[in-house]
Structures are given as structure tokens and as C-alpha cells.
């Protein structure tokens, strides 16, 4: 079973549904690509795999009547329902005395609502902006200043992450900024293990644009023990 927070939350939901509706004998959720997200304790993986295999085969053949939405089997002992919820499938096996309205509520209201809520909240996990590997160019002269210069596209890319609605949800819930709105500082780390924080500006030399370069003042290069042409890791500083 998948153990990410999304799956754990779904598992808790399934457990609570089992407690509330004892007529549900088996239940599990799997994705369209066949990954089992969560399931009850009673149903072993072999059973789940066997059911999934049969269902996948049926789903393929059912394309002739359009995309399959639900599949229900009634036996003398109960009912088995496989519902299509967003990009997942929910299986519920119930006893013959199960209240059909309750089952309908679970498959059409409760689980879809949980999934929708999870979709909103799951991305609360911190957004990690991957460090960029950039080639060092030295800034020399009187106007070199103490800021490094990097490509506009890189800054835009980082800013795009800041605009991610998921990051905004996190900020709203924690009351913190997950990443600064405007990137004005970066962390530079050399492969020799030296690192520093410094102000950042967009590269102003047209010839340097789009070349995956970082222009670092000569003085700072000396501090970091790097030279022109070296690779450094750069990421926005929080």
C-alpha cells in the first residue's frame, strides 16, 4: 500500500467508513494505472490484484459503450460496487442488508468529497525549489558591487514556484511565506563545500543571457574559492 500522506488520510477515511457502516465487508481504492492507494485490513493484496486484473480487462472491453463509470454485481450474499471517482476506482463489497442510500452516499458523496479535499490539501507538502547548477563568470571593475547576477528565466522559474496555489495554501495555513515573493537573495554553494548568501540581480549583459551563467563579483569568488568557468549550485534563499 502507498504510504504517502494522501494515502494515509484515505486509509483513515476508509477505516472510519468501515466503523460507521459495518455492512461494508471489503473496500479499497486504486488508481487508473493500477496502484492500490488504500484498503481495509481484511482484503489481502492477492485478492486486490486479482480483482484489479479482472476489472482492467473489463474496463478495456467496456470502451465500446463509452468510459466505464460503475460496475455493480449483486449476489445472494451482497453487492460489489466498483465506482469511478475522478482518476481512481473505489471498490465496496457490502452484505445483502446494506442500505443502498448509504452506499450511494459513500460512493457519490463522501469519498469524492474526501478526494477533492485531499487534492486541495495534499500539496501542502513543502515545495522544494531544486538548486540550479550555473557556470561562474566573474564580475570585475568598480561597479561590480556585491550582488550576483543570474538569468531572468531562472528568476522567473523560481517565481513561478512562488505563484503555485499549493504554496499559497501552505502560506495561508502556516501564516508563513513558503518562499519569498520576490527573489532578492540567493544561496550559492560551491562543490568545494563553501556557501554564502548574497543579493541577486537579473543579468544585464545581453550576451550572457540564456547561457546558464551566474556572474559573481571577483571578491566573492575569492571568498568562495571559485574561478571563472566553475560550477556552483544556486537556489533562492528563504
Amino acid at each position: 500500500m502507498n504510504r504517502d500522506p494522501y494515502a494515509i488520510a484515505l486509509n483513515n477515511a476508509i477505516t472510519e467508513i468501515h466503523k460507521a457502516y459495518p455492512d461494508i465487508k471489503n473496500s479499497f481504492i486504486f488508481t487508473k494505472n493500477g496502484t492500490t492507494l488504500t484498503g481495509d485490513q481484511e482484503t489481502d493484496q492477492q485478492t486486490i490484484n486479482s480483482i484489479q486484473e479482472s476489472f482492467e480487462n473489463l474496463k478495456e472491453k467496456a470502451k465500446t459503450i463509452g468510459n466505464l463509470e460503475s460496475f455493480t454485481i449483486t449476489t445472494k450474499d451482497g453487492e460489489l460496487t466498483l465506482s469511478n471517482i475522478k482518476d481512481m476506482h473505489l471498490l465496496l463489497a457490502t452484505s445483502k442488508n446494506a442500505d443502498k442510500n448509504h452506499i450511494h452516499s459513500i460512493t457519490q458523496v463522501i469519498i469524492p468529497t474526501i478526494l477533492k479535499t485531499m487534492e486541495t490539501l495534499a500539496p501542502i507538502q513543502p515545495q522544494i525549489t531544486p538548486p540550479k547548477q550555473l557556470i561562474v563568470d566573474t564580475l570585475t571593475g568598480f561597479f561590480a558591487g556585491d550582488s550576483v547576477q543570474i538569468d531572468t528565466e531562472i528568476v522567473k522559474d523560481w517565481t513561478k514556484n512562488n505563484d503555485d496555489p499549493r504554496a499559497r495554501v501552505k502560506a495561508a495555513l502556516t501564516g508563513e511565506q513558503s518562499t519569498p515573493e520576490n527573489i532578492d537573495q540567493v544561496k550559492i554553494e560551491t562543490f568545494g563545500g563553501n556557501s554564502t548568501l548574497c543579493k541577486v540581480k537579473e543579468i544585464n549583459d545581453q550576451n550572457m543571457k540564456g547561457k546558464n551563467m551566474i556572474r559573481i563579483p571577483e571578491k566573492l569568488c575569492r571568498t568562495l574559492e571559485i574561478n571563472k568557468g566553475d560550477l556552483v549550485k544556486v537556489e533562492p534563499a528563504s
Partner: protein, 118 residues
């Protein structure tokens, strides 16, 4: 010998009765058609004959998948199978040792059909 003849007569009568019901159902609004398959023979009546093979394969797969799933969960033999897609619905069931699949539009009340046929 006489007993066996009586049994055969009864089965034939039941089958005739079933086919009469299916003829009536076929003309109802929203019914796309049906497939009735026995051990030795099959009768198919679909509005769109080009879909006969696809529908026959789906019908057969529905029975097989249902049996596999209910066996895996120890739920007993399938009595009624319903597959719903965006616009179409399939009702499958066993009647007098025949596998029956009725294809219909989603708006049709399949429970009413099931009660009529079982």
C-alpha cells in the same frame, strides 16, 4: 424417459417465454438490444449490427470478471451485473441457464427489467 421429456418441455417453454419477453423489451424506448447465449445456441438482436462482436465480447467479459471478483471475495455467484458508462448501460444476468445481456440507454430503469426477467 417420460420425466426427462417433461423437463425438456418445461425448459423449452421457459425459453420461449423468455424470448417473448425479450421481444417486448426490445421495442421499449431506450433499449439498444440484447444477447442471449446458451450452451448450444445464441440469439442476438442489436439495433446496430456493426457492434455485435464488441458487445458480445463485453457481455462475455462482464460474466467472467464478475465470477472472478465474487469468487475472490467469497460472495457467491453473481445474480445481476450492471455496467454503466457515460451514456449506455448493460444489464447481465443468468436466466434458465442462459447468459442474457441487455444493452440500453442510461435512462432506462434496469431494475424493472431485471424483476420482469428473473
Amino acid at each position: 424417459m417420460t420425466e426427462r421429456n417433461t423437463e425438456t418441455d418445461e425448459t423449452e417453454n421457459e425459453l420461449e417465454e423468455l424470448q417473448e419477453k425479450l421481444q417486448e423489451i426490445k421495442d421499449q424506448e431506450g433499449i439498444i438490444g440484447y444477447i442471449l447465449r446458451g450452451t448450444k445456441s445464441a440469439s442476438i438482436d442489436l439495433k446496430d449490427p456493426t457492434k455485435i462482436i464488441d458487445y458480445a465480447v463485453l457481455s462475455s467479459t462482464a460474466f467472467d470478471a464478475s465470477t472472478n471478483m465474487t469468487e475472490a471475495l467469497q460472495m457467491g455467484e453473481p445474480k445481476k451485473i450492471v455496467i454503466e458508462s457515460e451514456e449506455t448501460k448493460l444489464l447481465s444476468m443468468n436466466v434458465n441457464n442462459h447468459r442474457l445481456s441487455i444493452f440500453m440507454e442510461k435512462t432506462v430503469n434496469h431494475n424493472k427489467l431485471y424483476k420482469n426477467l428473473k
